[in-house]
């Protein structure tokens, strides 16, 4: 698949935003490391919402006809893309109620209930983002439950690293935040490793024989029938050399998971904590962006079987 940068930015930014917001709620409820002050909570919440909003806005850049984007909420019953939009829109007012109840010292029950609902909505929205890809039977690299699991794990991993940065800057006890980040980043790394392992094996995927129905002998493409590229070759023809894919996978693990891990140790040891926390958060985000790029670049749509691929 052709990796569209607006979609990469959108999924990484909104994933981090949703992750940050739900973890912020947990940090607030359990007063982790002493608990953030009121203004800090509100600032963190607004940053998380800004990430979500910028992500959603950038996702409209890849639309060829954005004036109809408002219609995308209408097929909630069947389309995961529609559901994602609807859930994100429900998330916004709930998040604002939560932040307002912090700001204006609302009764605890309102603060907790709105915070909890916001966190649940954040989870559902990121899950829906993953399902947009996972529900497609045409791309075997995407059609697996590991995809929403990866989207959730990476969103929460980058969110937890951003939260750690906030805790360091606010001078809280960083211990609980380090533990939380370490756990979530480790889970994200393991899930991603399982995913990369899983998609290596083509399994029961379609072949050029089932695509043409000519199953009684070997089949090969003679001519695609078009003079120059078509929409199909531009959208689905992207090919990535195996070596390059391997290199990027290594980078995802080194920058996206390894570097934040090391930086967590640095924060734990109290060595230039702010810098280390910043490096961890940036590493997490850059790693997630590379992972997302690879997620698209490695996906092989079955239409390639009509353009010469023997199997997808």
């Amino acid at each position: 698949m052709h990796p569209a940068f607006s979609v990469i930015f959108f999924t990484v930014a909104s994933g981090a935003g949703f992750g940050l917001f739900s973890l912020l709620f947990i940090a607030d409820t359990f007063k982790l490391g002493g608990g953030f002050e009121r203004d800090q909570l509100v600032a963190g919440g607004l940053i998380a919402m800004a990430l979500v909003v910028f992500g959603l806005l950038s996702s409209t850049f890849h639309l060829a006809n954005p004036k109809n984007a408002w219609r995308a909420f209408s097929r909630f019953r069947t389309s995961w893309l529609s559901r994602e939009g609807v859930f994100a829109m429900i998330f916004m007012p709930l998040a604002l109620i939560y932040l307002a109840s912090i700001m204006f010292d609302a009764p605890l029950w309102l603060r907790e209930i709105s915070g909890f609902l916001t966190a649940v909505l954040a989870w559902i929205t990121v899950f829906s983002t993953g399902m947009i890809y996972a529900c497609l039977k045409t791309i075997r690299q995407w059609n697996t439950p590991l995809v929403p699991a990866n989207y959730l794990a990476l969103g929460y991993a980058s969110g937890s690293l951003l939260l750690l940065l906030g805790a360091v800057i606010s001078g809280l006890d960083t211990m609980p935040y380090i533990a939380m980040s370490a756990l979530i980043v480790a889970i994200a790394a393991v899930l991603k490793a399982i995913y990369y392992f899983w998609i290596r094996d083509p399994g029961l995927s379609p072949t050029i024989n089932t695509a043409t129905g000519l199953t009684r002998a070997k089949v090969k493409l003679l001519d695609t029938g078009h003079t120059h590229g078509t929409f199909l070759t531009q959208e689905f023809g992207y090919r990535l050399a195996r070596k390059k894919a391997g290199l990027i996978k290594t980078l995802v693990f080194v920058i996206g998971f390894g570097l934040p891990g090391l930086m967590l140790i640095a924060v734990f040891n109290g060595e230039s904590g702010q810098f280390a926390a910043l490096a961890a958060a940036l590493g997490g985000l850059i790693g997630a962006a590379m992972e997302r790029w690879l997620f698209f670049a490695e996906a092989r749509h079955v239409v390639n079987l009509y353009h010469g691929a023997q199997r997808c």
């Binding site: 060829a64 004036k67 219609r71 389309s79 893309l81 529900c135 003079t227 239409v303």
Partner: protein, 231 residues
């Protein structure tokens, strides 16, 4: 009704006439235009509803060229419709034709990702998704003579490799020929239940090729003369 096409892979000569006829009709049809980019330039490209690919089956001397026209299969379980967030893509209940409402489409490409058969192409000029309409603006047109109320591609095919009809009617010509010739849908393992059916190439005996060239005086004079003549 379940309207669709039958494509006879045994007969198709790969002339691309159906694709041209399709483009001609639909460029001015309800979903037109079908934009071309650099039509006379170095890299001509554009929107087509119907594309013909060419495959080779088996190896010499049993090999056979199979010309392979493909357009929307108007699938029974069309994921392109379920994934569309705007409701622009829809499947008509009355005849099963899958269409894109050009006034609602936002050009997100998502439906083209969901189609296994490459039937959907984004028109970069209008920013909307376009695809085969089964000539919905022809087949019901009361102003046309009855025999012309068929998709453009079917009417044009000089080899009669294309048929149009109702698959819900077990006695229709398309249903019968699919039964008799073992017609099949493409990529059945994805469970889209494509309506269009393909008739497989018939098995034919291998044509014997004469082995070594004939010897003799006449042949060697011929070969000598062939070498002398400058072509």
């Amino acid at each position: 009704m379940r309207l669709g096409l039958v494509i006879d892979l045994d007969v198709c000569v790969g002339c691309h006439a159906c694709a041209i006829a399709c483009k001609e009709w639909n460029a001015s049809g309800t979903i037109g235009p079908l934009s071309d980019y650099q039509p006379y330039g170095a890299e001509p490209s554009g929107v087509w509803f119907n594309r013909i690919r060419h495959f080779e089956m088996d190896e010499y001397p049993n090999n056979k060229t199979v010309n392979f026209p493909m357009s929307c299969n108007h699938c029974e379980d069309a994921d392109c419709v379920t994934v569309c967030p705007t409701g622009a893509s829809y499947k008509r209940a009355e005849d099963g034709i899958v269409l894109v409402d050009q006034d609602k489409c936002m050009g997100c490409n998502y439906c083209s990702w969901a189609c296994p058969y490459g039937a959907r192409e984004l028109d970069r000029s209008s920013g909307t998704m376009k695809k085969c309409t089964l000539c919905v603006d022809r087949i019901y047109d009361q102003n046309l003579p009855v025999e012309e109320r068929q998709p453009s591609c079917v009417l044009t095919c000089p080899a009669h490799a294309r048929m149009f009809g109702d698959f819900d009617d077990p006695d229709s010509a398309v249903s019968r020929v699919v039964r008799e010739r073992g017609g099949y849908g493409l990529m059945p393992e994805l469970n889209y239940n494509p309506t269009n059916q393909y008739l497989p190439p018939r098995r034919k005996p291998v044509i014997e090729m004469s082995g070594a060239p004939k010897g003799g005086l006449k042949e060697s004079i011929k070969q000598f003369a062939n070498r002398l003549v400058r072509r």
